[in-house]
């Protein structure tokens, strides 16, 4: 923190692996892409920013990897905000509607008021139609048979053709672009520059790489994560996977149940569960009442701890 070295020349921080793909289009969906335009910072800038907080004294104590992992584990967000990336994306408007809900980012989108709309709409292949999930009201599960899928895809083409025909017709008759676009299908591609700091990007990836995210945006998020962030800040990326993306959150009640299970105390575990109302029985059916939190916990036990439990039979 001495103040006497007036002229320390600096060179800009860079991430050589990311430099090697700068500007390159990573294809997404049938006609979309993601490409990196520019960035600011790297793994070492995270460390550097943390050290302004901790002072020079820490330089010897931590090595970079350990420090980055510590910061992420404890959600010390500010050093990650010191990195910034600017992407150029091409994405269907339907997907963009979800994307744009992440507010802490800077955006320049292609203007269909100013210019003619991009002449491309996302097409769905005959075997890509996903069935409504029964379990999850806002999800899908499995795909529709190819035969039905073929019909659906043909109808889609018919609709997209008509929509573009009507759009072109309007422009030809002199209708303003801002109004002509009003009936374009949500599948129409748009393009944007999207600039975001690393912390907010990791939050985006946490939500959008998740299995509950819609397949389309999940494809973009996966590419941004695995192809871009992994090259940009490899240490932070690994820490993100270990602590956040593949981590697990337990409520206080779930902790109590696991604590009992660890010592094999199933009676204690049931007692805890009962206190939370997980074992309430419907007197009519003599079955456990539906309880979403219990069901989610049983899923965690089975899927993440490989420790399936049958509450009724024990």
């Amino acid at each position: 923190m001495d103040n006497h070295d007036i002229a320390i020349a600096l060179t800009r921080d860079s991430a050589p692996d990311l430099d090697s793909v700068l500007g390159m289009k990573f294809p997404c969906l049938d006609d979309g892409f993601v490409r990196v335009i520019d960035y600011l910072g790297s793994d070492s800038s995270i460390v550097q920013a943390a050290r302004i907080s901790y002072g020079a004294g820490t330089r010897a104590v931590h090595e970079d990897r350990g420090l980055i992992r510590y910061l992420l584990r404890h959600r010390h967000t500010t050093p990650f905000e010191m990195c910034e990336i600017k992407l150029h994306v091409r994405v269907p408007m339907d997907t963009w509607r979800q994307w744009i809900r992440h507010r802490t980012a800077n955006v320049n989108e292609y203007s269909t008021r100013y210019s003619v709309a991009i002449d491309a709409a996302q097409r769905t292949g005959a075997d890509e139609w996903r069935l409504q999930s029964a379990a999850n009201r806002q999800g899908s599960s499995g795909t529709i048979d190819r035969e039905t899928g073929t019909v659906l895809s043909q109808r889609e083409i018919q609709l997209q053709h008509l929509a573009r025909e009507v759009y072109d017709e309007r422009l030809k008759l002199g209708v303003s672009r801002e109004q002509a676009r009003k009936d374009l299908p949500l599948s129409t591609y748009t393009e944007a520059y999207w600039k975001v700091d690393l912390w907010n990007l990791m939050h985006f990836l946490q939500v959008r790489m998740d299995t509950h995210a819609q397949a389309e945006i999940r494809e973009y998020a996966g590419i941004i994560g695995h192809e871009i962030v992994a090259k940009w800040v490899p240490i932070a990326w690994q820490a993100f996977l270990d602590y956040h993306f593949n981590g697990l959150h337990l409520s206080s009640g779930e902790v109590a149940v696991v604590a009992s299970l660890l010592t094999g105390d199933f009676v204690g575990a049931r007692k805890q569960a009962a206190q939370m109302g997980w074992l309430d029985v419907n007197p009519d059916s003599n079955q456990l009442r539906r309880n979403r939190e219990r069901d989610e916990f049983l899923e965690k036990l089975a899927d993440r701890f490989s420790f399936p439990v049958n509450w009724l039979s024990e």
Copy 2:
């Protein structure tokens, strides 16, 4: 700022004129609306917040109206941020795409992943088709003749019908809602709760009530301003109109030209204009070069100051 009155009972601030329209739908476009769900604060909370900054001493000096106008004139934004409003809006997705770009707000939108899309799309009447503006690449100007408009409206209905037919077909065949929606037209209505503080709302209104805003969002903004904000914080609303919305911004060069014009010094005004490159002549045509800033200034002079100037002839 004394600290001894431990128990000052407070009652919540309210705006009686706004209370009288709480929950009421103000219709917009053919099937949209805006309604107020709740709010926090009023004109007097702006004053109260300013006084925490200035201390008790100012209570005698300013009266409320003067203080609010002073704060707004000098862009002291924080007291205005102390007021918050929550609206329920029904709006075509195309308009919503513009709306959502205002990031400093809280949003809950109707989910077409979770629920079937609202069965309504914004229709354009035969005499509502706007012509592309020649002067402004992102605007419209005038309307299309009724005959052509009738054809355009029929085609719109045809397209919207097919789009809904295809959507319903997909749902019937079991396609997930999240995917079935992908080709809905942008004109499809959506609904949302939108919560925003007064300062950011005034910024929204400044941009979206402007004559350059697209007609559709301008209709919503006008209603929010004139029907809602005017009832909620009447003093702040009037100040907003006087200082911001109907105010005028001049660049340093424009100030210099106006200064010369005020004393009738046309030679000086021309000299200033020349220095800024406004009088550069195209040697081929012997006409003034196109200069957007000069043209905008001439517009200000003519439209706002009623003082048209002909640069060449003087």
Copy 3:
């Protein structure tokens, strides 16, 4: 979602338990306080906001408590952002420096440019001097003996007196308030209006009620949580305690170890731990290398799961 009931009169949402303490000062530290000025929304507005997303159809399925807990568990943040609260706080500038780092809030602070600084500085009692923690570089642990504490408190009074004397002297000699304040101690009280939405407030409480937070801000956070939020949105508050504040986060590696421990597979657990480098031995000392992540995990096991493990001896 029908659009025909043009005139649904609404009354504003209120939280009666919070109304009963509106304006009341909850004392903090020796001369600080927190009081509620106003608020927007309640538990039922969280539900209402969620339902705009999910559509009317869900009304029968969930009851409010279950829905709020579900939303919080899954970090669906937007319905919580639909609630807003405005507090009036009196707090030492030192504490305020930490407070203000939470950026997503609206603030009006008492201005010592405009008014004479509040004539009160936070005093530390003879038995309130906290020792530097050896384990945690940014924490404290235990208190200093009363005798030494008495000396420290006397010196504090001496310093605070001189600081105020010098401040008053400057004002008397005509020095501007903006400059006279420059050497006020950080312990000087300031006041502010602070307005924040419920989601961001819960984040503030998560960080500032934590045992790692500094005692002073922790006192404020505790009061805001237990005395204010608990009265305002009791269901959301309980969910916050259960899922966030008293919840536990495990990394993917920690999950793997716990999974092994659940089945009594200590060999597997050690293998997992070894893969993460937790069992690396320092050849010189023949002891385990220092590993912060392992130590934190052992703490979780012992403190949260009551399942202490000794890695070396097994």
Copy 4:
């Protein structure tokens, strides 16, 4: 917008003039500084971002300078947000308290919980003590005589010495750093990394380079503007000076008065003024009532338009 050139190699945008001062400390106050750590983008990235909005077609129409000036003039903020800069600053805590109020920025500050406080406090020279302004309650005007100033500076040193002595004493007796710091004077230096996008930086400069800003932060803002931003984005910087910093805002009423004055219609101007209440007379004194808005307008006329007006005598 064609999508076929999968592999366009990009090199990162740079600003050579800024590169030449990267890391260099620009001294501020007696012991502070500002230095650039890194940045993203340049004048040409503003253009590039605007063009994603406008489409490829515009490339021929505008040249860069004209486009940047157009964007700034019309407050099209998003292309400016596409540039980002990261500064390292050393600044008294008193100044930092004002700085940090700009919320849309990323910050890592030196932690006095974690490390011993920087052993430097801002000193005021004998001829640097500013007098309280009579006209502006939150400003200063002129300086105190050197003799008095000498006494004030001596007292300052005495206070700062005692404060540090007490601080060191506490640390020596084992008091935790987080508590020991509580009585440090606000003049104590702190350091921080501060990262901000160009639009928000220009807003910071607009407010903090202003003559109403406190001298200390104005010194920092001036250096950031004239030494850093001017080198980084010279075209945007000039546009900022022309349109924002040296621009002038007129209310609708002021526009009406100027319009009358332009045609020499003093009767009309007085009529406009009277309608706004600017000419209300106090019956007791037979003088014009105090009216802040009128006084501010007269200042604009005199200072910016060199057109002083005496309302009473005409």
